[in-house]
């Protein structure tokens, strides 16, 4: 049990190096929006999902209607349904009464290491997943708080907001697994370029994501790819 927990924490640590700059940017975005370190920490604890935290904070700061802010963040996080469904056969059978409490720690990174290595070398997947998830959780919380404190002192002329798309760019590369992903990304990127500046109520981002996901689903169906 302890050994698997430690293995999970240890094997997620190379990924944590990449998570730190992301956490700093996510924290800085909150103070950039005119909020405080308390809100930055709350955002990380309550939402605990970088892309959604950045999207909701920027939309909120731009004055988007709350329904649009909420819907966009939820659509960005809808990928967790897929991760959770694919992780379930690995961890649910031996999770027992802990089942309802495991989902909170689910992230792109904890999902990836647990699916790949959670059952290797005699590891037990539930403590392995908890080790990976908690290591990431602590890194994320500390990183966003530090980022929120730094964000308040970095001058606007540095254009630090540009770090946000750069971080997403690094996450985008491994998300392009099959041809339909590439096409979905192109459709959604073009739609975002066209819609974000013009659609009312800051709904361009939401509409663009839905266009890309629908395109990808339609293309995959045409190719009879049911995997």
């Amino acid at each position: 049990m302890k050994r698997s927990f430690r293995a999970g924490a240890k094997e997620v640590s190379p990924i944590l190096v990449g998570v730190v700059p992301f956490a700093l940017v996510a924290g800085a975005a909150v103070t950039d929006a005119g909020l405080g370190v308390l809100e930055a920490a709350a955002c990380s604890v309550i939402v605990f999902a970088g892309a959604a935290q950045l999207a909701l904070t920027q939309l909120w700061a731009d004055g988007a209607p709350l329904l649009v802010v909420i819907a966009t963040a939820l659509v960005v996080n809808a990928r967790f349904i897929m991760y959770s469904a694919s992780l379930a056969p690995v961890i649910s059978p031996e999770a027992g009464r802990a089942r309802p409490f495991l989902g909170y720690l689910l992230t792109d990174q904890a999902y990836t290491v647990t699916v790949l290595k959670g059952r290797e070398n005699g590891n037990r997947p539930v403590p392995y997943y908890l080790g990976a998830g908690l290591a990431l959780w602590f890194t994320w919380q500390v990183g966003t708080i530090v980022g929120a404190m730094l964000g308040a002192v970095i001058p606007a002329s540095w254009q630090l907001d540009f770090a946000v798309p750069l971080v997403f760019l690094v996450l985008l590369v491994p998300a392009l697994k099959v041809r339909a992903d590439v096409e979905a990304a192109i459709v959604s990127g073009l739609a975002a370029a066209a819609f974000v500046p013009v659609l009312p109520l800051k709904s361009g981002l939401l509409v663009a994501i839905l266009c890309g996901a629908a395109w990808g689903a339609w293309r995959a169906m045409g190719e009879g790819d049911d995997a």
């Binding site: 004055g63 990928r79 897929m82 379930a88 760019l169 339909a180 990127g189 689903a217």
Partner: protein, 108 residues
């Protein structure tokens, strides 16, 4: 907007997110997800990330409206090449931010 509205967003998004993360793990073994939902969800990561990247790389919003910014586009292309080759956050951040500062200076 008021701070309270930000907290409201956090609570609603946080609740929704924890449900999306938890339900499939909790309900495992009690039926399967409808096929169409699975198909739509499969391409959400690529779509969401591309939609978050493209407008921020094309436009500057410093003036309050979306203005095409060639320095951002140039720096974005440099960062894309580095991201594709290294898949490394720090290298991509360095190349993109460095590229933006240099291009912004050159294009004045």
């Amino acid at each position: 907007m008021s701070r309270e509205s930000y907290w409201l967003v956090l609570i609603v998004v946080g609740t929704g997110t924890v449900l999306m993360r938890s339900l499939p793990i909790v309900l495992h073994g009690k039926g399967s997800m409808p096929k169409l939902i699975g198909r739509l969800l499969r391409h959400v990561p690529a779509s969401a990330l591309a939609a978050l990247v493209v407008p921020s790389v094309l436009y500057s919003t410093a003036t309050g409206s979306h203005v095409f910014d060639p320095a951002r586009l140039g720096a974005g292309v440099i960062a894309l090449v580095v991201a594709l080759r290294t898949r490394n956050v720090i290298a991509t951040l360095g190349a993109g931010m460095g590229g933006l500062w240099i291009l912004a200076m050159l294009l004045g």
